[in-house]
Amino acid sequence: MFCNGQMQIEHIELKNITKRFPGVLACDNINLALKQGEILALLGENGAGKTTLMNILYGLYQPDEGEVIVNGRQTAIDSPQKAGALGIGMVHQHFMLVPNLTVRENVALCMFNDRTFHCDIAYVTETINRICTDHRIKIDPDAYIYELSVGEQQRVELIKALSLGANLLILDEPTAVLTPQETDKLILLLQEMAASGCSIIFISHKLNEVKAVSHHVAVLRGGKLVYNGSTDDHTTNELASLMAGRDINLPVAKEKEPSDKIILDIQNVTAIGDRGTQALNGLSLALRKGEIMGIAGVSGNGQSELAEVINGIRKVQSGRILFDGEDITNRTPQQIIDRRMGYIPADRLHEGTVAGFSVKENMILKDYARPPLAQATFLKDRAICRYANDLVAKFAIKTPSIDTTCASLSGGNIQKVIVAREMNRRPKVLVAVYPTRGLDMGAAEFVHSELLAARDKDETVLLISEELEELINLSDRIAVIYEGKILKIIPAKQAQKSALGLLMAGVQSHG
């Protein structure tokens, strides 16, 4: 029922694929094959070439060498339209949505992109409704994309791919911003689809998901295929070391004596969201100096708005925010930055970085006006280069040079640019929204240990994440946010995934 494409892809093969970008060999002579009904997991560190390889299969890039063979015949996939006609659908790592159109319009755009005049909106609505009920996805078709949280945007991307009835579905890090429940649902959905004859290629850095969903794994490293085989042959730990070439252990927070100094005090704050609804509804939260406070919640319950009001990007309607004893309610972002607040935003492409700027220019996004990076009004090129080079080395950012534009980095490496910039500023409080989103395990390990090191230096972190494991491992306390309010705060050591899951759904146990 999922695979109502014109043609069935029974066998697809990538043969000797090579792709170069200025200064990088992104794909190096890769051979890969997939049969109908199989789920292939594609693994690899940040910048290994996963997205590039998939973009070639989807017709967005042309390989420099090599060919794609569909059902035994060499086929030139020279545009996404061509890929669509073949029944190849793709959910991109960076969303391909038009922000000022509604969900319905975005789906229509993708379903009727080959027509000039014809667009049957009623049919689009029907399709959206069918997909949503079939797969128990919740979305408001009339909501504008810019009003949606990243998690919700992810759902729209999935609906778009499903609406075409793809019979080869490529998912590029679809679970990076999903809650565990949503991930479980997605995995179930993918298994159903595979059972009914759809092939799936699944990119993820989370190995337990890979274990749960895939039949085969392929591991890329530095553009080369280093492993290709059955998933069952390896444990998650073995897969991790295949990927990184070493063992990886995510660090866990050690118990720490709480300080009683309150560094960030949010008192009864209300704020309106992009959709015009009450996104924060009298939220109160107090962060102690030197702790990591986790925020757990289903995306769209006010997390992004909370981060924005703290950083002066969204107006507070009522209530107060005190930062180190000073009232920062409705101050400008610059004033709040000057008081040493750090912020890793959810949208890394449009908010956390200026995509068209070079890596170097993005590294100084908050410090360009300060010595030694600037003197009087002049930018000090030499100091800036040294600063950027240091950060690139320290955070192992994979880029041909610091003059490369951020837009051409791989997803995980863009994230690293933001994390490097914000952490290196040594903020008093760091608001970190999905800080390890899209990072490979090695990089996530590094960021986690940096966050813990910051905590041990008495810096404070507000950690907003969908990943319960990350929250439980790192936080001292976890606050559950639901409909714009903090429902409950629990010490992380006592937190259990199942109990947290219930709380996040708004169910408060009594007693």
């Binding site: 042309q62 020279d78 950083n311 990007i313 400008t332 972002p333 610059q334 709040i336 930055i337 000057d338 912020y343 935003p345 949208d347 449009h350 908010e351 956390g352 970085t353 200026v354 995509a355 068209g356 700027f357 220019e361 996004l365 908050k366 360009y368 006006a369 600037a374 009004t377 002049f378 930018l379 090129d381």
Partner: protein, 366 residues
């Protein structure tokens, strides 16, 4: 080895493509000439060679290039800041009015004081006009294309009124000739002539110096950094603490100011008074110059010279083959279209791949 060969291929492709599209424009233009009853070969011969034949032609190119370059600098600043400023024409005129007011009505002063004053006034006038659109964009969210285009009309009407009414040359009324122009500016305030007998003045030197300054401003100062950030990604710059509204406004103040300077250069260097059609469309051609220069202040220097050549050549051609002025304008437009559109294919990789594919299909290969 492969790399340098590839680069050579690329270069041949780019040059070939530009030449091809230029040829196409000229062929279409030739049809227009034939309709108008002129010899296209002779006409084109004049257009491309006559301006370079003698010192007069060459100097005249720089007379045209100076205002074009100044406007293009302003356009580069505003476009880089994310504002599509189409209001150069109006900003030139208001700049000219402000400059004229000082030049004609301020008490006589030594030129070393007076000329900076005139330039400052013109800059302020243009900045005012650009600033209105910038303010409306930043604080009221009014589309800048709409406001700048409309402000052009307003400026044109005000300018015509002033040179026909309050600022009209008193002698024109006394003698009853009634030409719509202001009195002449005192000779010591004129821009210096660089070559005796030719119109070329020091305006181009000023413009080139300013181009270098604008380059440093945009890429080497924190203000330029902020403006480029606002233009490239407004959400990220707000996140980084930039006061985005103020920088949108500043971008338009500067853009208008530079167009205003073009007005001053025309007044002090060429016409020495305010008269009808003082701008000759520089406010619009300046946009093309800026785009052709890659929205880079230094790129705008050669771009303005190329377009200066185009304008002078067209003028000479008109005199040589006696065709209506409109046909000359049409040819100019065709050439600009050809250059700009081939430029799109050269700079945009995707467009280029499409075109190569199309050509491949058209020639029946692969």
């Amino acid at each position: 080895m492969g790399n340098s060969r590839r680069r050579l291929q690329e270069l041949t492709f780019n040059v070939g493509l530009t030449a091809l599209s230029l040829l196409l424009a000229l062929v279409i233009g030739a049809v227009l000439f034939l309709i108008a009853g002129a010899n296209p070969i002779k006409a084109y011969g004049v257009m491309f060679t006559a301006p370079l034949e003698d010192i007069f032609g060459i100097t005249e190119i720089f007379v045209r290039a100076a205002p074009l370059l100044l406007v293009a600098l302003g356009i580069s600043i505003s476009f880089r800041s994310g504002i599509l400023n189409i209001g150069g024409e109006g900003q030139i005129l208001v700049g000219a009015i402000f400059g004229l007011c000082i030049a004609l009505y301020a008490p006589p002063m030594h030129w070393s004081i007076m000329m900076p004053l005139i330039f400052a006034a013109s800059f302020a006038g243009g900045a005012l006009w650009g600033g209105i659109a910038g303010w409306m964009k930043a604080y009221l969210n009014v589309n800048e294309i709409l406001s700048t285009v409309m402000l052009n009309y307003v400026a044109i009407q005000i300018y015509s009124y002033l040179i026909r009414g309050p600022m009209m040359d008193k002698q024109e009324i006394v003698y009853g000739t009634g030409a719509s122009q202001t009195a002449r500016i005192a000779r010591e305030y004129w821009l210096a002539k660089l070559i005796p007998g030719a119109r070329m003045h020091s305006g181009m030197i000023i413009a080139v110096v300013l181009a270098v300054i604008v380059f440093f401003f945009l890429w080497k100062t924190i203000y330029g950094y902020r403006m480029r950030a606002v233009g490239a990604e407004i959400r990220a710059s707000r996140y980084a603490g930039v006061n985005t509204r103020w920088y949108l406004l500043l971008a338009m103040l500067l853009a208008g100011g530079f167009a205003g300077l073009a007005g001053a250069v025309e007044v002090l260097g060429v016409h020495h008074r305010g008269l009808e059609s003082i701008s000759a469309g520089y406010g619009f051609s300046g946009i093309v110059v800026a785009l052709f220069g890659g929205l880079h202040p230094l790129g705008a220097i050669p771009a303005s010279i190329i377009f200066g050549l185009l304008i002078v050549g067209a003028d000479m051609m008109q005199r040589a083959v006696h065709v209506p002025a409109y046909i000359i304008l049409a040819i100019q437009g065709l050439i600009i279209l050809a250059i700009v559109s081939s430029n799109v294919f050269i700079t945009k990789k995707g467009m280029r791949a499409k075109m190569v594919k199309f050509l491949g299909k058209a020639t029946g290969r692969k």
